[in-house]
């Protein structure tokens, strides 16, 4: 730590206590948005302050931390958050999904299946899923209290009318534990099924909007869907990762700036690197054997 003395994990103990209490409430009522006193952080609101405050409140000296942004460990946002947390905690950091105790993420859930005991902290820009259909906060609170989600359903209906399918690509509305409609944060549809009956604890923090919510392990998390217009994940059939050849991961489309050729790559860089290294090994092995 530099010349300034901060308490472990930057936040003062009273703040951590408040956030932990709010987290307990959030876990006790899956999908319910708990208001919390979002503190001023050394990054701008809307850049992950909600997730950051949760991470700093739950982290202990022995926890190994991983931070990703859209699946990538090395993007600017992830790097800056990692440096900051490393500075104020001195904890060990990792890129490995399976090695981490806590993973803070923006807009993705890792490809590798997370286990019991791991915590995934998601950064949330807009916690209120009903905001699409209802501008008033008082009204959305009433709607949640009465489980009145008709307007959200009509939103899906209108989508099918207009486009012949549900076109929501991220922030797909889910019902948690059959009770609360919830914004799963801007993860792609591809990641939504990973929330259902998971072994992992999911914590959601919206710093700007001052809300915390959670999905405890083994909770039903089901996407809103009509009986005859079901929820579908993104279709990557016929496409594979240029680096590791994966055909069952979430792929980002990009292009070669010289040749202009389009290609696809895993969005989860750690998953991709792990696969590439094992593939290289297996590729080398048969060659050596043939010699």
């Amino acid at each position: 730590m530099s010349e300034y003395e901060y308490s472990y994990a930057f936040l003062d103990e009273q703040t951590k206590k408040e956030i932990r209490r709010k987290l307990l409430k959030a876990v006790a009522i899956p999908g319910y948005q708990v208001p919390f006193g979002s503190r001023e952080m050394p990054i701008a609101r809307g850049w992950g302050t909600g997730g950051l405050q949760i991470t700093l409140s739950v982290i202990g000296p022995d926890d190994i931390l991983k931070i990703i942004d859209q699946g990538c460990d090395e993007s600017v946002n992830a790097c800056n958050l990692r440096t900051f947390i490393e500075d104020v905690t001195g904890n060990a950091m990792t890129y490995d999904t399976l090695e981490a105790d806590i993973i803070q993420t923006r807009h993705r859930i890792p490809e590798e299946k997370m286990k019991d005991g791991q915590i995934l902290v998601l950064q949330v820009p807009y916690p209120e899923i009903l905001r699409w259909v209802e501008p008033s906060e008082r009204e959305t609170r009433r709607m949640h209290a009465e489980r009145d989600y008709n307007k959200l359903w009509v939103f899906l209906y209108e989508d099918i009318v207009r486009w012949g399918e549900i076109t929501i690509s991220y922030r797909y509305p889910v019902m948690v534990n059959g009770r609360y409609a919830m914004d799963p944060s801007p993860i792609p549809r591809f990641d939504v099924p990973k929330l259902h009956q998971a072994e992992t604890l999911f914590l959601f923090g919206a710093g700007r909007e001052k809300r915390i919510y959670a999905i405890p392990p083994y909770t039903d998390v089901l996407p809103l869907q009509f009986e005859d217009y079901g929820f579908k994940v993104e279709d990557f059939s016929g496409k594979s990762c240029r680096n590791c050849g994966s055909t069952n991961s979430y792929l980002d489309e990009t292009f070669d700036s010289k040749s202009g050729k389009r290609y696809f790559m895993c969005s989860d860089t750690n998953y991709c690197t792990k696969r590439s290294s094992t593939i290289t090994e297996t590729k080398i092995l048969p060659q050596e054997m043939s010699i």
Binding site: K151, Y157, E158, F226, D228
Partner: protein, 286 residues
């Protein structure tokens, strides 16, 4: 004859007893110091407005009951109380199709009230902006009511919406258009289609033809009569216009200053009005 009357009484679909709504702080004498005999609905003691009081009536199955009175007589308040848009000061209401009329509707939790509103009631307001969401399509508005009544199959919702548009004589080609671009008469039809969507046993109509031109008025009234005959839905029809009441309602309640001053068969009231206010109303018909 007597047995039949008794049967009817048992079959009363909706029973309303002693309904009262007071705006303001209210005192013990509010109800006694207001009403048609006192010549107003503002309590001289505490200044509260008694919008309606001592309202009791029944609606039988398949019957249209008209409520007539000048503006400010408490007609719309009555309908809003029954639709749970506002909460009453006191009073009870029992619905035959909800727990065999054993439970007072006005005392239920908000969730249960919403369930009843979605499953048992349909409402058509005077102003379509109250009853419709103008930024949802016409079909979406009908879908909202159906989803509220637990329809989760897009095809079925679409089918039912189409059926309702045919029933209310709306062009099917407009199903995906926004009602804000519709004419007043068409908006009223969409409201009626929405209100009928889940086959409610009771339909509340609040000044449905007010503000429409005469030919459209006649069409809407015809439509309501047709619906009542074919679907046997009970209706509570509020209007300030005796002509509308005469055309549709079998029985009529006359209201003034928040009280019922006269009630009975519509024909009887038209031919032989007892209360001076009713006489005045009928004499002032064009």
């Amino acid at each position: 004859m007597k047995a039949r009357a008794k049967d009817n009484k048992e079959q009363a679909l909706l029973r309303v007893r002693d309904l009262c709504k007071i705006y303001g702080k209210s005192c013990e004498q509010c109800v006694t110091l207001t009403g048609p005999d006192m010549g107003g609905n503002m309590c001289p003691k505490c200044g509260s407005i008694v919008a309606c009081a001592e309202i009791s009536f029944d609606i039988n199955c398949g019957e249209i009951v008209g409520v007539v009175g000048e503006s400010g007589s408490g007609k719309s308040t009555l309908i809003r109380l029954l639709h749970f848009d506002q909460s009453p000061f006191s009073g009870r209401a029992y619905l035959n199709s909800y727990e065999n009329a054993r439970t007072d509707l006005l005392n239920l939790s908000d969730q249960k009230k919403r369930w009843i509103r979605n499953h048992q009631f349909g409402i058509v307001y005077q102003n379509p902006y109250h009853g419709l969401r103008m930024n949802f399509s016409c079909g979406g508005n009908i879908a909202e009511k159906l989803i509220a009544a637990d329809w989760y199959n897009y095809g079925n919702i679409r089918g039912r919406a189409t059926e309702l548009l045919l029933q209310t004589e709306l062009p099917l080609s407009r199903i995906d258009d926004l009602p804000k671009y519709f004419s007043g008469g068409m908006q009223q039809r969409v409201q009626i289609a929405k209100a009928l969507a889940n086959n409610p046993p009771i339909l509340l109509l609040d000044e449905v033809t007010t503000g429409l031109d005469v030919s459209v008025q006649a069409q809407i009234l015809n439509l309501i009569r047709h619906i009542q005959r074919s679907l046997k839905i009970s209706m509570l029809l509020v209007s300030h216009d005796f002509a509308v009441i005469r055309m549709l309602a079998q029985r009529t309640i006359v209201m003034k200053n928040g009280r019922i001053v006269e009630s009975g068969l519509t024909d009887q009231i038209m031919e032989d009005p007892q209360h001076p206010y009713t006489q005045l109303l009928i004499n002032s018909m064009l």
